[in-house]
């Protein structure tokens, strides 16, 4: 927390500024047809529409909301190649103040986390918001790794987040229910709905985003895992249809044919 003493004509305002970092992934749209090329060693990007990770969009929306109620700045960070800049610009149009892109292909969770932590370590962010997981590799771990690397508590999947001074109240999903917690800034979170409603950029936001700063920096570390080959699952066999009148016979098939009961 940075406490600024601002002297105006009549009063002395003590204002607390909150520095928020939102980490976004750039991922294929959820309806994309997945295929590979170069002998199944590379993801085929042809015709793929990229989007801000759906969960990351919730994190971004909550960060922008916090700006409305708290004095806060929002920096958006992506580890990715130049082709993720449209998604970064979109985040700026939604309301982030500035952006950072770490120029590398993000295929390894530890690498991504390490890059985020290295960037953030001397910038005293109060809050680091991420999505619960990326929708390409579905790992759900970068927030925890960053928390550990920066010595901050981490929470996921967070569904409610409220901040009062340095006191933080949150609720996170647990199996079969939810848990309410109290912690303090700084901390790291992986977010999911209904933490906020997705925001759509308006015209003013889109215009403004063009001139907001986007810094590109080179990666400083390496990956601990490497993808060597991809594979598609075998095609699904035909669906066996059972008439509604005779619906009960399905149960016998599940027992004797599919052997799942």
């Amino acid at each position: 927390m940075h406490t600024l003493f601002r002297i105006s004509k009549v009063t002395i305002l003590i204002q607390t500024f909150m520095k928020i970092l939102v980490c976004i992934s750039s991922v294929p749209d959820t309806t994309s047809k997945i295929s590979f090329e170069e002998n199944d060693t590379k993801f085929n990007k042809t015709g793929i529409q990229y989007i801000i990770g759906p969960y990351d969009d919730y994190a971004l929306a909550r960060a922008v909301e916090l700006k409305e109620t708290h004095a806060a700045t929002v920096t958006v960070l992506n580890v990715g190649l130049a082709d993720s800049e449209p998604q970064i610009r979109k985040a700026l149009a939604i309301g982030a103040d500035d952006a950072v892109r770490i120029d590398a292909e993000p295929t390894d969770s530890f690498f991504v986390a390490n890059e985020i932590a290295n960037y953030a370590k001397d910038k005293s962010f109060d809050l680091i918001l991420m999505g619960r997981e990326t929708t390409d590799y579905n790992s759900g771990v970068v927030h925890g790794m960053v928390g550990e690397m920066l010595g901050m508590p981490s929470f996921s999947p967070v569904m409610e987040l409220n901040i009062d001074g340095t006191a933080v109240k949150l609720s996170k999903e647990i199996e079969g229910g939810k848990e309410k917690l109290e912690t303090s800034l700084p901390c790291v979170m992986g977010c999911q709905e209904p933490i906020a409603e997705w925001k759509i950029p308006n015209m003013r936001g889109i215009m403004g985003a063009r001139t907001k700063p986007l810094q590109v920096i080179a990666p400083s570390t390496g990956s601990l895992t490497a993808i060597e080959k991809y594979e598609l699952p075998p095609a699904k066999g035909a669906c066996k249809m059972i008439s509604a009148e005779d619906a009960g016979s399905l149960i016998a098939l599940l027992q004797t044919e599919a052997k799942v009961l």
Partner: protein, 320 residues
């Protein structure tokens, strides 16, 4: 050196997914010729914990300090980190769950370990350490080589047949100081549905979509689930409309399940829904619209009204 298996307990017993992780980790240990050690956190009896031996482990380390009762990510990860160090673990295995992801992530961060999730097969350790994992919510697989000294794997549910023996494993109490960690993030309230089956753990799931018409019409679905001993789930609009609780919603933005049987009632089968259920072994779809996209992903289909079909299925299960 050892394979360390991080497990989760529910009501004093290993969760089913943790048993699968024990089995998986023990096979990796055998492959590498090193020992298979289980870490269990929370309250459980020694006899119950010793069952890890049935699934191939040679030792159980039990951390049950009084402050380890609530699911505290910081405290649990500290225990895992310290144990991985003391046991000289070269591989750390867990089942995938929201809590395990959070705990494993911190530990992998601390131990400079490559972490791969959604693993679906035993690793290939003939050259390097290669694992097959599911990516794009089940739409593809990636073969990934882990090059760090310590390797972290999170296993997808229901991918390996369980092998059960009769050995039991000695249980050793361990203690790791976590008091200040539980203090810095306090659980103030836990709201948990009681008496219902855990959805991510379930072998059988009955799920309802907007075709169920409203929360007041859920009884036929609940009846079938009860007769089968299945967990209940729903589509996203159903939980958005508050017909069912959020933790029941499956799909891209919800819980991902891989049960033996998934029965979809009045769900259209949007791609985002399929992303959460397409690794199920067998999928049954009940929909009044023969053109519903879900039929393309199904093994068995019934074109009909759910309110007519569900009672017939329940009756057939009861007659089983």
């Amino acid at each position: 050196m050892s394979v360390l298996i991080y497990t989760e307990l529910a009501d004093g017993q290993y969760k089913k997914s943790s048993i699968e992780a024990i089995n998986y980790g023990s096979k990796v240990a055998a492959q590498l010729g090193i020992s298979s050690i289980v870490l269990a956190i929370g309250a459980a009896s020694e006899a119950d914990l010793a069952k890890a031996g049935n699934f191939g482990s040679t030792k159980v380390l039990h951390a049950a300090d009084a402050n380890l009762v609530a699911e505290n990510i910081m405290a649990y990860s500290k225990v895992l980190i310290e144990t991985a160090k003391s046991q000289n673990a070269s591989v750390v295995v867990s089942a995938k769950s929201a809590l395990a992801d959070a705990v494993m992530a911190r530990a992998a961060g601390a131990l400079q370990a490559g972490l791969v999730g959604n693993v679906v097969e035993l690793p290939d350790t003939t050259s390097g350490f290669k694992v097959k994992r599911s990516i794009f919510s089940g739409k593809a697989f990636a073969f990934t080589n882990i090059t760090s000294d310590v390797k972290f794997l999170a296993i997808k549910k229901n991918v390996l047949a369980l092998e059960e023996g009769t050995a039991s494993a000695p249980v050793e109490k361990i203690s790791v100081d976590t008091a200040n960690l539980t203090e810095s993030s306090k659980v103030t309230e836990t709201i948990k549905a009681t008496g219902t089956l855990s959805l991510p753990e379930a072998d059988l799931v009955v799920s309802g979509g907007r075709g169920m018409k409203g929360p007041e019409h859920w009884q036929p679905l609940l009846d079938l689930a009860e007769a089968l001993g299945a967990a209940t789930a729903c589509s996203k609009p159903v939980s958005d409309l508050d017909w069912r609780p959020h933790h029941e919603h499956v799909g891209q933005t919800g819980v991902k399940v891989s049960p033996n049987l998934y029965i979809a009632c009045g769900i259209s089968g949007a791609i985002q829904h399929l992303a959460g259920v397409n690794s199920s072994k067998v999928i049954v779809v009940i929909n009044k619209d023969p053109e519903a996209p879900f039929f393309k992903a199904a093994d068995y289909g019934i074109v009909g009204d759910v309110f007519d079909v569900l009672p017939k299925l329940t009756a057939a299960v009861k007659a089983m």
